[in-house]
Amino acid sequence: MNLRKIWLIARREYLFNFRRRSYLFTAFALPLIIVVVMVLVIGLLTETMESTSSFKAVGIVDKAGVLSDSAGVPTVKLPELFRLESSEEQASADLQSHAIDGYYVLPADYLRSGRIDVYNRANLALTEGVNSALTSTIKLALASRVGDPALVERIQDPLKALAVYKVGSSQKLDETSVMSVFIVPTIFGLLVFMSVTVTSQFLMSGMVEEKENRMMELFVTSTRPSEMLWGKLLGLGALGLTQIVVWTLFGVVFASTRGTDIGQTLANLQLTPGFLLMGLAYFILGYLLFGSVMSGIGALVNAEQEGRQLSGILGTVGVIPFMLSFSYLTDPNGTIPRVLSLFPFTAPVGMILRVSWAVVPPGEILISLGIMALSVVGTIWLSARLFRLGMLNYGKRLGLRDVIRAIREGRQAIVSRAQRKEASL
């Protein structure tokens, strides 16, 4: 193979597709939109749901004597937000005069019934944040009746010394990574999967375009089909990597604007060099696998429409691990996750999910990568043949039977029925 030609083709594919509007959109505009939406959503949610800052004061009428003794003196330290009201009339008057934004009434039979009445102004409902402040205050007051300080402390924070382990590991995970165990691998897997499908989509539509534009015979008399295929795979693969790098940069910039220490965050998120290296290996092999199959499809179809349908099926296979993610939760080393992490088309996402939820024997990762590598060799060989076949059969719809026969017989041109008829006239 001529390396210079591969380089020329790769460079051309990279530059040409980089300028595509759809690429610029997914690479740059999409992450920007996601970041903006996330900031807005997070901001709005915390603002409305958790915060108590929009409340000046909230009254409590304690007829049950849970928070105060018979003289009206608080038995626990009340959060600053709350103030005790001597009666419902008083509370109502304070609400009228805007001294308080609302009030709770604990009726005399509260301990038995659990009933609490809430009064607030029509335009300002008491939020979840206020409710949860009241909840912990009441809990504390009730616990202190038992007279056991240890019990009080446990009720305040029952999960104080929570230790989380991965399945099969005796090493404790630290607190931030508990959340990230679920979120980060999903995002990472999605990222890998998206760049694999987006770039292999480009590969396919590029080939269909060349067939539609009748460029193929020109190429086939200039280069080898294998040089063409490798040039395209490498050029577009680099494009996919560029996209991942751009997204990562967006993520890092986004995180740093929110005052997070990147290095610490990465460590907390378990994005260890080993994990990233594995992700890279799965990206490369996954891309080569999907890319070579997509170019095989591109070689056979005549219109992008047809290609999209076939590639849609392939894409669906790739996300099966996401759909079956419940099986990872229950038993990450069970049969389903194990099969998904070994089957080449589901392995990139399947293994990344599995590794982040359980300790997977390194041998199994190597076997999975090995199976993928072998499949890549197979699909590239096959798609080089299809590539050559498809190059010379544009304008014809190639049936599966034609293709199988052509591959078996080593023929490079398929004679359609119309041509056969024409030739026999």
Partner: protein
């Protein structure tokens, strides 16, 4: 350069697609520096033959030598091919596109860019160097395709239907460029439908029908070979009474008649007979040499298949 006088040598190639024999034991050669025409009805096997010469597909049997040897990757750099079904990237600027195609043929980027620009000037597209293919007219993009074919200065140029869809002005331009290439010593193989262009341009021709060679040789040889023992005259007289005239055919317009002669009579005998006899008035007298078009129709157009089989023997001599 190789010492072989032939740019292409094809020996007994056959290609079968399923039950269909697309090319059947075909042999011919293309001499260096000539314009060689391939003719034949649709589906005769021309494109399959060209693809086999270009090593796009392999023959089932037979051998092909191109530019003095087996086809290799290095051969590709010395060949320019303009396929019948051709196209270009739509959204790329002309110079950029041609430079890319040139580098794929082994040129350096600088050389390819320089030559792309120079050739675009030559075909009258100097003002469109920065245009995209999608902005060009059909004739313009055909000229760009021709430029793409010769950008790397190939020794052998193979063109499938060069004039299809071109207007007269661009046809003349392309013709003059092809003559220029010939003058530079390049070999040109054209598959072509327009018979008058073959008559005008080609040195030698090959006609294929049903994958077999039915006509082969220099254009003049082929025409003479198909010339019947006949003369075309116009004037007045009872032509069938002339000695040696087997039959008389008048043409459709009724202006002239063709006198078919028996094997003992030459056109000279007829001329003498006409000159001495007062019963005949002759306005014109010519040998009946058929046009390639007539030959094409006779050979390809269903004179019965027995004719096709006889022709190769006559042609190869």
């Amino acid at each position: 350069m190789n010492s072989s006088p032939n740019a292409v040598e094809v020996h007994g190639i056959s290609k079968r697609y399923g039950h269909q024999l697309a090319v059947d034991n075909l042999s011919f050669e293309v001499r260096r520096g000539e314009i060689f025409s391939m003719l034949g009805p649709n589906g005769a096997g021309k494109t399959t033959t060209i693809r086999m010469i270009l090593d796009i597909i392999k023959p089932d049997s037979g051998t092909i030598e191109v530019l003095g040897g087996r086809f290799t990757e290095a051969t590709k750099q010395r060949i320019g091919y303009l396929p019948e079904e051709r196209g270009l990237y739509k959204g790329v600027r002309l110079v950029e596109l041609l430079t890319y195609l040139g580098t794929l043929k082994g040129m350096s980027t600088a050389d390819a860019a320089r030559r792309a620009s120079q050739l675009l000037d030559e075909v009258g597209l100097g003002d469109n160097k920065k245009s995209k293919v999608s902005e060009l007219s059909r004739g313009m993009s055909q000229k760009v395709q021709f430029v793409a074919t010769i950008i790397h200065d190939p020794d052998l140029i193979i063109i499938d239907e060069p004039f299809a869809g071109l207007d007269p002005v661009n046809t003349e331009l392309l013709k003059s460029m092809i003559y220029k290439l010939k003058a530079q010593g390049k070999t040109i193989v054209m598959s072509i439908h327009e018979m008058h262009q073959v008559e005008e341009m080609a040195d030698r021709l090959l006609m294929i029908n049903h994958g077999q060679r039915v006509l082969y040789g220099s254009v003049d040889e082929v025409r003479q070979q198909y010339a019947e023992n006949a003369v075309v005259v116009s004037g007045q007289g009872e032509w069938q009474k002339l000695p040696g005239v087997r039959s008389v055919k008048s043409d459709e317009a009724g202006r002239s008649v063709t006198l078919m002669l028996d094997e003992h009579t030459t056109p000279d005998d007829i001329m003498q007979a006409l000159a001495v006899s007062p019963n005949y008035k002759v306005r014109s007298f010519a040998l009946a040499v058929p046009s390639l078009n007539d030959i094409f129709i006779r050979v390809a157009g269903g004179n019965g298949s027995s004719n096709h089989r006889e022709a190769p023997e006559a042609a190869s001599r």
